[in-house]
Amino acid sequence: MNAQAAQPLSDTAFALCLALLLLAPLAIAGVALINTGLGRCRSAAQSLLGSLAIVAVSAIVFLVIGATFAGTPGGAGHVAQLAGKPWNWLGEGSFLLGGLGSAPAQSQLALLFEFLAVAMAAIIPWGSGADRLRLSAGCAIAALLAATVFPLLAHWVWADGWLAQLGVNFSLGAGFLDGGGAATVHVLGGLSALAVVWIAGPRKGKFPKEGLSTALPGHNAVYVLFGCLLALVGWLGWNVAGAVLWLHAPLSALPVTAINTLLTAAGAGAATFAITRARFGKPDASLCANGWLAGLVASSACAGIITPVESLFVGVVAGVAAPLLVELFELALSIDDPSGAITVHAVGGLLGLLAAGVFAPQTGQLVAQLVGIATLLGLILPLVYLLFWLLNRVVAFRVDPDGERIGMDLHELGGGAYPEFVIHRDESYR
């Protein structure tokens, strides 16, 4: 597969890609269910309503602002000359998608992919801010991501931007490769989650003055595990469509991409199952879900590039790392991330991007992937933190203490997700 050898899509490839992209919202639904299940029962309705609102806001803002700057492959862009090389740093699309109907088929599919990708990226930090992030703040974060950082990154990676052109300009393999959105969606979402957690702070009672952090387990393991199964379907569609669109894979290579996606998730799920069973005596459902999802996220970067055995290996590494990092972040680094999004999406995505460089056959591919990772950590994280810090001054991220005490459902929606349940008193608020 060669990211530099773009060919017009055949009718078959177009139809297949469109059909696969129509499965992708299942991945968003899966992540939304996982976020809800890992939160507390008194915030469940707010969590799912927030997910819906975030998908809506991100789509509208991306239409009005983001799509103009994200651009599509082969589209116009703002190019700066530096050291004799062109650096395509910003897209130049038509305002409000004017003329989309007559655009090439590949551009239309690319835009559909980007619309779904921005929704997924925006929903990730919502899970990390569970139980204390206000609905308006979640929507504002989605709007900010859809208007600024996501279009920038999507253009660099997918729309012939400077990261995609590393191969042409600097002979670094096929340029930065990200077939399924590991960088533009998951690492961006995971780093945004980290910024949200830092700015909003931990849930009340999570880190007491003395002793270990308080365990605040998710309220519904069934949502979480069913979300994992839904996510698998969505991810299969996403990775295979991404392989066609961004990696220009031939149709004959697509079954391997799907198999790799499944194997990475399977390896990760099995590894987390084994690790948690070995450590705690019994497998931990929420950590297994985190491991499974970390495998899927890692596959986003490399499923279209590596072999099935390598995919399994990447999955096992992701599955071993996920439960250990969730614990490390909470116990050692005081990071209160209810959905584990920082581990799953940021670390899983970075692992996948690295694996794509290590196992790719092209010379220089590893350096191209490292430059992409350096961009995400060194530029995108500080930028997202700065933007969120400013946004927090305008739209306060965190709910007031009373709202946190009674739960986000009652405080923000006026009614709970489970009105017939009797909610017991929380000992941590004594």
């Binding site: 009340k204 060194g378 530029l379 994280l381």
Partner: protein
């Protein structure tokens, strides 16, 4: 301290970009990109430590 860490991270990014422009040799280029990543990791560690300190002060 956390803001200092966040300022160090872009420095690492620009080191990585400088590697692309300054070096043609693949080994030198890779080494310089890795140095940039190391600087970013240093900044990330400082930022994490900064947030941990802030968290400790605000624990209920």
């Amino acid at each position: 301290m956390k803001y200092a860490g966040l300022l160090v991270m872009p420095a690492g990014f620009f080191l990585s970009i400088a590697a692309l422009v300054l070096f043609a040799d693949p080994v030198q280029r890779a080494a310089f990109v890795l140095c940039g990543l190391a600087v970013e990791c240093l900044g990330l560690v400082v930022t994490v430590r900064g947030h941990m300190a802030a968290r400790g002060e605000s624990r209920p």
